[in-house]
């Protein structure tokens, strides 16, 4: 036992790879699976790791092909330590999402160099499954799912291959495909009925949520226009009934009170505790599926009149989640489009809504004072300002010229007269405050596009918008959209129609060819379906679904119970189908057993070790008068049973002869 083992490691002259427990095609399956599992990560890996992994995979393939020797262990161990050190150097840590994936890639590649036993192959395969799963940390798009399905197929085929190495490659694919196909019903049941738990179970690594786009907690010239160039989806809305007209679709987000001359921020305003407004008319009911943006804002139509779970509202009418939105989140809301927002107007709040840094924008302040002096009321001031924006020759642009002085509002209002919504809303609020009208900036999204395929409204980052609210005493906080005043088409038709055609970013050019539109709508509806039912399937969806299927209290115990019974039932059905009893045995054998039984009754039982011919010769000696029949029956049976092919006519003949046989 020991000798060949020593030989394996000691001999330098061997030409083949006797330590490979896998035949070449099966090793290729495994290498292919690992390559496919690595592929989605390859761009994110540190360059040297990517190069190293590719090199090892290629070299291993070459070595398998040409029978090169695998490196010896004394070489592998320091190599592994060195590479892990390198991973630490690249990521500054060995933990967390990115470093973890890098480590997994490295370990898999190195494990390929050290496959000496069947156990190594199994360990490698399981590690590769892990790597395949880790692709979902970064993307859960349908394409990623397809790649991963391919990986699973290859790896499962490799598992089949090591258990029946003598069979052809095609048989392994067929078996693996059949197993996966039969596993799908169980997957579906587990997916819908496995009790969902609200994660996370432990602290997430810091790098888990980088790179999410969305509104920011401050507004300075340029950041909304930059966001507007993104075609990414901010959220999707499903209305109960018809969607309100586009002009009324103001999706409220962060509210900014504090201005330092350049940037608007929320500020630390001591807010009144109440969230209240007077409503009239019929509420709009809808559900929002919010893409993760790693902040706490929940967007709703002005003004939201209900509160989603795990959320709270502020006096300035913001809906905030208790935890950052790090996964696609779905919530139901109802809003009144006609309202009087009189909350959040304490003395402190109104003071905060009038605060301005004194030293900036003298021309703006002068203009505001002149309005104040000649106007009869606050409402009159507001109207004059709106009229100013409408008639002032202002242009709307995605690429506003950069401010050259500290008086950026002066520059915008009097010199350049070109800007984006953040310029308009910011300048408007500065004017109002200078004229003594309490005002604040509200950001969010404006508009949305109905997808005719599934009826969902899509709101994109390009719909990001900023507007203003002024306090008009008894009427309350009133929305004023200076951008709409200057560029009415912005709110009626959307951004792409409002900006000059030569500067509309690629993402915003909605190709108008009808078939392209149809294609896009279909694709987005499909992807929404995917988001709603696959990616967005969470505790809430699970409960809703199970309630619809008639489960009165879908708590986790009941869900687990239903999972147990459904799984049990399906496994039972599957096994009944797989193990359906063979009702008809081999007809030749049936005849032969009948023949043996007849002889046994006459005291000529067959010994267990006797083959048909030996038995027949013995019986023929005992019954010489029937020797002919006995030998013929045995010959026929042996030929039918152990011969290369069966033949229905000869089986029939055998049965006939046995029937006639009377010992």
């Amino acid at each position: 036992m020991n000798a060949p083992f020593l030989l394996r490691f000691g001999s330098r002259t061997q030409t083949s790879t006797p330590d490979a427990p896998l035949a070449l095609p099966h090793l290729m399956l495994l290498i292919g699976g690992i390559a496919l599992a690595t592929a989605p990560h390859i761009q994110r890996l540190p360059l040297w790791i990517a190069a190293l992994a590719i090199a090892i995979l290629l070299w291993r393939t070459w070595a398998a092909w040409h029978g090169g020797n695998l490196p010896r262990r004394w070489l592998l161990v320091p190599l592994t330590v060195l590479i892990i050190g390198g991973v630490y150097f690249s990521h500054r840590t060995l933990f967390g999402r990115d470093a973890g994936v890098t480590l997994l890639v490295v370990l898999l590649a190195l494990k390929l160099l050290e496959m000496r036993t069947l156990r190594d192959v199994v360990v490698t395969t399981v590690l590769a499954y892990f790597l395949a799963l880790s692709a979902f940390f970064y993307s859960q798009r349908p394409t990623t799912a397809f790649i991963t399905l391919g990986t699973i197929m290859l790896l499962t085929s490799a598992l089949v291959a090591i258990n029946a190495p003598h069979r052809p490659l095609r048989a392994h694919f067929k078996t693996a495909g059949m197993l996966l196909a039969q596993g799908i019903p169980l997957m579906v049941i587990l997916f819908f009925l496995f009790p969902r738990i609200q994660g996370p179970l432990w602290g997430m690594p810091a790098d888990a949520f980088s790179g999410m786009t969305g509104l920011s907690d401050s507004m300075s010239p340029g950041n909304i226009s930059a966001l507007s160039q993104s075609d990414e989806i901010a959220f999707r809305v499903q209305f109960d009934g018809a969607a309100p007209p586009r002009e009324k679709l103001y999706w409220r987000g962060p509210v900014f009170w504090q201005y330092d001359g350049r940037t608007w921020r929320a500020g630390d305003v001591a807010q009144s505790p109440q969230y209240r407004f007077e409503s009239s008319g019929v509420p709009v009911r809808y559900s929002v599926t919010l893409e993760p943006h790693n902040r706490t804002w929940l967007f709703g139509l002005e003004m939201p009149a209900s509160l989603p779970d795990n959320a709270y509202a502020t006096a300035d009418y913001q809906l905030l989640s208790r935890a950052p939105i790090r996964a696609r989140t779905r919530y139901e809301l109802q809003s009144y489009l006609d309202y009087r927002a009189q909350g959040g107007a304490s003395a402190e709040e109104l003071d905060a809504a009038l605060a301005l840094p004194a030293e900036f924008n003298p021309r703006t302040t002068a203009l505001a004072r002149s309005w104040r002096n000649s106007a009869a009321s606050d409402a009159d001031v507001v109207n004059r300002a709106v009229a100013h924006f409408r008639t002032g020759g202002y242009r709307y642009t995605l690429y506003p010229p950069l401010a050259t002085s500290a008086d950026s509002v002066d520059e915008f209002l009097f010199d350049k007269r070109m800007g984006f919504c953040e310029h308009y809303s910011g300048a408007f609020v500065v004017l109002m405050r200078a004229a003594g009208v309490p005002a604040r900036v509200v950001t969010g999204y404006q508009g949305g596009e109905i997808n005719p395929v599934d009826g969902y409204m899509t709101v994109r980052q390009s719909d990001a918008h900023a507007w203003a609210e002024v306090w008009l005493g008894r009427i309350g906080w009133v929305r004023v959209d200076p951008t709409a005043a200057a560029v009415p088409i912005r709110t009626s038709e959307g951004l792409a129609a409002a900006v000059p055609t030569d500067e509309a970013p690629q993402a915003l050019i909605r190709l108008d060819a009808p078939w392209l539109r149809t294609l896009r709508f279909n694709f987005e509806a499909l992807s929404n379906y995917w988001n709603q039912w696959v990616l967005g399937y969470d505790i809430e969806r699970q409960r809703t679904l199970l309630t619809r299927f008639g489960m009165p209290t879908p708590d986790w115990q009941n869900i687990a119970l239903s999972l147990f019974w459904t799984m049990g039932l399906v496994v039972l059905l599957l096994s009944l189908w797989l193990l359906r009893r063979v009702t008809h045995a081999d007809p030749a054998q049936v005849a032969w057993l009948a023949f043996c039984k007849k002889l046994r009754k006459r005291g000529l039982a067959r010994h267990a070790s006797e083959g048909p011919i030996a038995y027949a010769s013995r019986v023929a000696i005992a019954r010489p008068e029937q020797a002919q029949a006995i030998v013929t029956i045995a010959r026929l049976y042996a030929e039918l049973r152990y011969g290369p092919q069966t033949d229905a006519r000869r089986i029939a003949r055998l049965a006939r002869m046995v029937q006639r046989f009377r010992p």
Partner: protein, 322 residues
């Protein structure tokens, strides 16, 4: 009542089978669902642990597709368990012919596995004693495996408890069953490698028959020399050693040999004498001589032919045993 319950219980049957108790089954063994057992392998346990880790990761990061992949693998593993079980259950095992052997060699038991199912059986492993053989069986077809069992002494060698097992398709589960077949091989005494000539030849029934120097009758063996006729090479004897031997023929007329236990040197023990006689029988049969065997309490009259040869070896194998 209690005893009946006990006998019906799965565990009881399992222990009985495992210990090789219970009565050996004569004829066909059918692997019913009651006698096929299944357990996860070490790979299966490792796979389960990694599925658990995948699930925890998916919960923590709220990965819907992570859930999906974990559940797909779990479903596939469950299906694989059914397939492993199905790969083994409802298999017929028939004992086929048995190649008898000389003590020290391996007796070969041929086993016919019949697959009555509509699906192929893959990588069925049959273990008995210290040998294992694998085979695939096509739907409604039979396959033959050979279990070689090393013999130690002459006499009957029963086929040890057979373990039939399979881990196909994924190696995550192992299904196995036991078959205790009523088959035995006859183990002949090991022919010794003594110097020629064979044991003393005693005239039959007082009628002296001397060994002549003719050309037809077998006299003995000598090492092969180039030029010897190929027809005279002792192929059968060669099979038991690795030297080419040439048959030497003698005299005229028919020699009638008596291979007599009592005429062997007295300092030889019983087993040594039986070994010597076995070799003599082999040589005599090789030569086509007419020979008889005389053992204490048993005499086989001189004759020739295969049946006689078998009877002589059988008598030697079972001397003072059966």
């Amino acid at each position: 009542m209690l005893a009946q319950l006990l006998h019906r219980s799965q565990l009881y049957r399992f222990i009985q089978l495992k210990r090789g108790r219970g009565t050996p089954t004569a004829g066909t063994v059918f692997l019913t669902h009651r006698r096929v057992y299944i357990m996860p392998t070490r790979s299966g346990l490792a796979f389960a642990v990694s599925l658990l880790l995948m699930l925890v990761g998916s919960i923590n990061y709220q990965l819907s597709l992570g859930y999906m992949m974990t559940f797909l693998l779990a479903g596939t593993a469950t299906v694989a368990m059914l397939h492993t079980y199905r790969n083994l259950v409802h298999l017929h095992i028939d004992a086929g012919k048995v190649d008898d052997a000389f003590a020290g060699d391996s007796a070969r038991f041929h086993l016919h596995l019949h697959n009555p199912g509509h699906y192929e059986r893959v990588a069925i492993e049959v273990r008995g004693g210290d040998s294992a053989a694998r085979c695939d069986i096509r739907p409604r077809d039979s396959g033959t495996t050979v279990v070689a069992v090393r013999s130690e002494r002459r006499g009957w060698l029963a086929l040890p408890l057979l373990t039939i097992r399979t881990e196909y398709p994924l190696g995550l589960f192992r299904a196995w069953s036991y078959a205790h077949m009523d088959v035995r091989a006859l183990i002949y005494p090991r022919p010794d490698d003594s110097e020629l000539p064979p044991p003393e030849i005693v005239p039959a029934q007082g009628e002296a028959t001397s060994i002549g120097q003719g050309s037809d009758d077998f006299y003995g063996l000598r090492p092969y020399q180039p030029g010897d006729s190929l027809r005279h090479i002792a192929w059968k004897a060669m099979a038991h050693g690795d030297v080419l031997l040439t048959k030497v023929f003698s005299g005229h007329g028919t020699a009638e040999l008596w291979l007599d236990y009592d005429h062997l040197p007295h300092n030889m023990g019983r087993e040594a004498r039986l070994s010597r006689l076995t070799r003599a029988v082999l040589l005599a049969a090789e030569a086509g001589a007419t020979y008889g065997v005389r053992l204490p309490g048993r005499t086989i009259e001189p004759a020739a032919g295969d049946a006689h040869f078998d009877a002589c070896l059988r008598a030697l194998a079972l001397h003072e045993l059966a």
